[in-house]
């Protein structure tokens, strides 16, 4: 008798917990929760406008879809994937790393490699061609010959004062 009572209590508790959880899950997400997802998506029609800031009817509807999907318990990743399937990469604000779009990612790296490679080539070839020390101009002290930066400053300030005063 006692064990049956306990079983009923447990069943009621589990049922109550399930009800509470489903009620909580069914609650409408707050604007902040919707924006948390919308902030990582971009309006597919406007250029450069984030979904959480766009006033177009299409974007208002997209935010409603986010709300529905959050209510259904979908994660941010799932919701984003849904919109990518619907509209393409345009909603992510950046191209995928596949196919032709790969160029957008590779080009900056290539530009940096070419730039730095050219720089390295320049430095190496110029250093090789150097046969004699270059005489230092008035504004180009060969720092290697200077004992300390402070002294270098002092000398330059003094020279400047002599020239100008």
């Amino acid at each position: 008798m006692r064990s049956r009572l306990l079983l009923h209590v447990v069943i009621l508790a589990v049922f109550g917990l399930l009800m509470t959880t489903s009620a909580a899950l069914a609650q409408t997400p707050t604007p902040n929760e919707i924006n948390d997802v919308a902030r990582e998506l971009w309006c597919p029609l406007c250029n450069g406008v984030r979904l959480d800031n766009c006033d177009l009817q299409a974007c208002i509807q997209m935010r409603e879809v986010i709300s529905e999907k959050l209510t259904e318990g979908e994660s941010k990743g799932q919701i984003k994937a849904y919109f990518v399937a619907q509209y393409g990469d345009v909603v992510l604000g950046q191209p995928s790393g596949e196919g032709f779009n790969l160029i957008a990612w590779v080009f900056p790296i290539l530009a940096a490699v070419i730039g730095l490679g050219w720089l390295a080539y320049l430095v190496l070839t110029w250093r090789k061609r150097q046969v004699a020390p270059v005489s230092a101009g008035p504004d180009a002290p060969a720092d290697a010959t200077q004992p300390a930066a402070d002294d270098d400053y002092l000398r330059r300030v003094e020279r400047d004062l002599k020239q100008r005063d």
């Binding site: 924006n35 990469d89 402070d150 400053y153």
Partner: protein, 683 residues
């Protein structure tokens, strides 16, 4: 009267062609009279363009709606300031304003350099007139601001300067109004800065072309145009920053820069222009990088045109873009022609552009400047590709991809960090070669400062890795600059026994170029501080509130009180009054508004409620409301450190002014000292 404006433009175009022809013939045949006539053509063309612009302003201010431009961009109730700024609120008017600024600059440069470089002058004048002539051709053949409205015999409304057969003039009773987004103080100023920056780059470009044609490729042209590059660079910087300020308070998304194609278009020449300003120092001091400097000023100038082409041709989509028009093909043709022309000149003169010196060491200021130059160009290339990639993708794949802030931040963020570190390291390296002892001495304090910043930030509650890295880089650069000032002042005081303030003032006064440059660097640090604060530490929240309800974001609680409707001259303003408290302590009120313009009621404009502060801004957007304010939706952002961005903008102006301020060279001062008072020059 407005017909006179059209006639002035036609005459200006013809005289600009005449000026180009006589300048070139005069230079070729060595005829000073023709060269002088070419120079005078600049003054005459400028006068005629000024007349056209003044007549257009008169038409805008007096609501001459028979002109299509006035009808499309103003209305009777538009405040006078915006009637005035409507000139640059549309395609045709902005091209006229651009031409006017180009004329003012060309006239100033011609007058300023009237005594110098006589052999290069005809070529400089030709380039300036070619540039002005091109814009005049756009005004005459593609976008005429003096076009009128006509009703054809079939009842169709058409535009044109001259009436088609059987057409009658239309004079509408009111105009369509100015785009509400442009009815903002910052938007009045922002285009002026950008245009001055864009057209200003024509002067150094003209000098570069003249140096190539004449073969006078020493440092003279570089020395002459340094300030004429710095000033347009300053205007371009101010233009970009004013645009950011406008975006911050007008667009209502809590940010200031969206990597929009038009924003990028202004940023591209800024990048190469900044590289040029730095690399000419190497040519001046060491006679190196002559080809590179030519390429940089060429790129900078072409990018001002390419940016304009992108904005005005419809090639890229943007919230800022002008409507599709016929200017696109003309711009494309001009850009291609000038690129090929300059390239041909450069190849022709390559043998004369040999470097006078070589790099002595990897660890030298020259190498660090060169690296920084490469980094600037890489950022430019990446930003350029990102800007045009949607169009390329559509062309090749038939599918338009969108490249927005996530892409640009991911690509450019790390490169900017490298640039920041280089900005700090370059001044600590000596010209030619840095000895290990000097390196240790110069880098020790900045590195310690960077390391100290990490626990300091941690203690202040920072947990963002990107924030740690960014702020450590700022500490590194700032400590280096302070160290430079301290050493300079100390050395001066030892030599002259001046007091600290006097030594500091004299140090900056006597070497404004160097120490003004450091002030500019500090201003960049402040701007970077604002960017880091906004990017990595922003808090935001949204809530639908009834009067009396509150929303809390970060430490701030905002309580919605009332919604009032106030009538403006050409709009109705809906003002939501909110009380602000920080940690429970009342701070006052903040009033975000929505403006509904009479002529554009379907496009309500956001005016953010802003409470700026040195630590953080409270930024509120009235996203919407129901039943005259029974409920209202608010977006609240707390943006740390943003005020420092605007403070940095002001300091940038100070730094460039200190750096470019005219000062007599020691030789001039000495000569002036030796000339007896009252002496007259020999005629």
């Amino acid at each position: 009267m407005t017909d006179l404006g059209f006639i002035a433009l036609v005459l200006a175009f013809v005289i600009s062609l005449y000026g180009i022809a006589v300048s070139l013939i005069g230079a070729r045949r060595n005829l000073p009279e023709l060269v002088a006539s070419g120079r005078n053509a600049i003054y005459v063309v400028s006068g005629l363009v000024a007349i056209a612009a003044l007549l257009m302003w008169r038409a805008l201010l007096t609501s001459e709606f028979q002109l299509e431009f006035v009808y499309s961009h103003t209305e009777r109730n538009l405040p006078t300031l915006y009637k005035f700024s409507a000139l640059w609120g549309g395609q045709a008017g902005s091209l006229l304003f651009w031409t006017l600024l180009a004329c003012i600059l060309a006239t100033s440069a011609t007058w300023f350099f009237r005594q110098q470089q006589p052999s290069q002058k005809p070529y400089i004048n030709s380039v300036l007139l070619l540039y002005i002539g091109f814009f005049l051709s756009l005004l005459l053949f593609a976008e005429n601001p003096f076009s009128r409205l006509w009703r054809s015999a079939t009842g169709e409304v058409i535009t044109g300067v001259f009436p088609p057969t059987g057409a009658t003039a239309i004079v509408p009773s009111d105009g369509q109004g100015l785009n509400p987004q442009l009815q903002n103080y910052w938007m009045v100023l922002h285009p002026i800065g950008l245009y001055l920056g864009f057209v200003g780059m024509t002067v150094p470009f003209a000098f570069a072309v003249a140096a190539l044609i004449t073969g006078q490729l020493g440092n003279a042209w570089i020395k002459m145009i340094r300030k004429w590059t710095l000033v347009p660079w300053l205007f371009l910087s101010i233009g970009i920053l004013l645009g950011s300020q406008w975006a911050y308070i007008e667009l209502g998304w809590g940010g200031y820069w969206a990597w929009d194609p038009v924003e990028n278009a202004s940023f591209l020449p800024w990048l190469t222009g900044t590289a040029f300003i730095h690399s000419i120092m190497i040519q001046e001091r060491r006679g190196m990088l002559k080809v590179w400097n030519m390429v940089l000023i060429w790129l900078t100038w072409e990018l001002t045109l390419i940016g304009t082409f992108l904005t005005r041709s419809g090639v890229v989509q943007s919230v800022h873009s002008f409507a599709l028009s016929a200017v696109g093909p003309m711009f494309a043709a001009f850009i291609i022609a000038t690129m090929l022309g300059f390239l041909a000149l450069l190849i022709w003169r390559l043998p004369l552009l040999k470097s006078e010196n070589q790099l002595d060491a990897v660890l030298s200021r020259e190498t660090s400047f060169l690296t920084q130059n490469v980094v600037f160009v890489v950022i430019m290339a990446a930003t350029f590709l990102g800007t045009i990639f949607p169009s390329i993708s559509e062309l090749v794949m038939g599918d338009k991809v969108s490249l927005n802030a996530p892409y640009f931040n991911r690509v450019n963020g790390p490169i900017f960090l490298a640039l920041l570190v280089l900005m700090g390291a370059a001044p600590l390296l000596a010209w030619r070669r840095s000895a290990p002892e000097t390196l240790r001495k110069n880098f020790l304090a900045p590195i310690i400062a960077a390391l100290v910043s990490v626990p300091l930030l941690f203690a202040l509650g920072n947990r963002s890795v990107a924030g740690f890295v960014g702020i450590a880089a700022l500490f590194f650069v700032f400590a280096g600059i302070v160290q430079e000032y301290v050493r300079g002042v100390r050395a001066r005081r030892q030599a002259t026994h001046e007091t600290l303030p006097v030594a500091l003032a004299n140090l900056v006064r006597r070497n404004g170029r160097r120490y003004g440059g450091y002030i500019v660097h500090v201003s960049i640090l402040l701007i970077a501080l604002g960017i880091i604060g906004n990017e990595f530490y922003q808090s935001e929240g949204q809530a639908n509130l009834a009067p009396g309800e509150s929303v809390t974001v970060a430490n701030y609680t905002l309580t919605y009180r009332t919604l009032d409707a106030v009538r403006g001259p050409n709009y109705t303003e809906f003002r939501a009054v909110m009380d602000v408290a920080r940690n429970g302590r009342p701070l006052g009120q903040i009033i975000p508004t929505k403006n509904v313009y009479n002529k554009n009621s379907e496009q309500p404009m956001t005016e953010v409620g802003l409470r700026p502060g040195p630590i953080e801004d409270v930024y509120v957007v009235l996203a919407g409301f129901d039943n005259m304010g029974a409920t209202a939706s608010f977006k609240v952002y707390v943006n740390p450190l943003m005020s420092w961005m605007w403070a940095g903008s002001l300091l940038l102006i100070v730094g460039v002014l200190v750096s470019a301020w005219p000062r007599r060279s020691p030789a001039t001062a000495e000569a002036a000292r030796r000339v007896p008072s009252g002496a007259q020059p020999i005629a």
